[in-house]
Symmetry: C2
Subunit: 244 residues, 2 copies
Amino acid sequence: MSHFLLGVLGGMGPLATVDLLQKIIEETPADGDRDHAPVVAWNVPQIADRQRALAGSGPSPLPALLAGIEQLNRVGASHILIACNTAHHWYDQMAAASHAPILHIADATTQALRQRPAARIGLIATQGTLDAGWFQRRFAGLGSATLLPRPAEMADWFVPGCYAVKRGELRMGGEFFDRLAAALVSRGAEQLVLACTEVPPGLAAVESSYRALSLDATRALAHAAPCLWIDYRDNNQLHTRLSE
Amino acid sequence: MSHFLLGVLGGMGPLATVDLLQKIIEETPADGDRDHAPVVAWNVPQIADRQRALAGSGPSPLPALLAGIEQLNRVGASHILIACNTAHHWYDQMAAASHAPILHIADATTQALRQRPAARIGLIATQGTLDAGWFQRRFAGLGSATLLPRPAEMADWFVPGCYAVKRGELRMGGEFFDRLAAALVSRGAEQLVLACTEVPPGLAAVESSYRALSLDATRALAHAAPCLWIDYRDNNQLHTRLSE
């Protein structure tokens, strides 16, 4: 590999992308600016709603996703992260169109879960992500059963929580997500996987106590990316050379 | 103008860029994702230190700045913001090389100051920004005198505060900046202008009381950008069309 540049396909929503960028910085051990990964972020929210597209009630986001992938490749991204769980529904089409490899958020999450075994994992995600089964299959591979939200919990808490965060009403969104987390724990979840990028900023805004039981898929992705960067940086002695 | 895309030239440091992206979102009235401005951010911290270059003790960041400007133009940025006050030292060279106009952070700050008249403004910025005089000249145009940090305050508080934030030690940085703010206020500053992007995250981390007296140049820039976007969005009826 001749160079390193993390491309972030974002905009879904814009705040979730900023959350990922912040977490990439937090997850990188650094003595100064130049120890951090170089990142280019395509944070363009003019894209069709993923949840509505998968529910059959709206247009496909695929053309806008492919346009973002094309632009990230054009400026030389060497690896791509997608700052939206649900958008991974179109992962295969994006990977086929991308010169740069795309890290899958469910793979990064599974890697992080290996450190935190649990018999029963509560999964908080959009209906599209739940239906796709990426997370459930990977949890089963780790020997964990998945507890899903009930339809009424999705309609009454998850969906309005997501759209509240997207409107900037983080506390309102967090209160909905906190109720959903409580319901999953009351049904036996020992751990929660927050597999929708709107959820962690919402739960943080209300300082939800369920964060202690939660694995944040955004943070897992943010952790996987600097691991690649640190390997590259140290193999190329960039840390020393750039810090002169 | 055929399209709208905000380009953010960042990486100086990476956290300051995330702070600008967050503030662009906060400054945009929005009912949902698609009401937010489309943004592409070049957050590449592998660039020579601006403070050291201007002090004559390090290489120039100009080649890396121009490379970032070129990439932002390549992906179609229609307007560019620079997430670093000190980098505006090379504003003319960047503007000459950019098809997209570049907003000047001192112009955005001056615009915001019109709502907050003050006889004496304390200016917190790098030595390079202080020496350049952009802010002082604009404050004089508003009828305000500028109070500058003393050399010992720069050496003992400002510079270590900046590098602490760049290392991720936000509270340590904030404590240094809080002392500097106190010194400027004790000498008669009625208002402070935080004209270095590392300062607002530091002061926020220690919940500094001086934030109430402070105008954050990053936020002023973040406010100017959505104003352009909202004009474009509403003139093109994007709000209605995209929210269908």
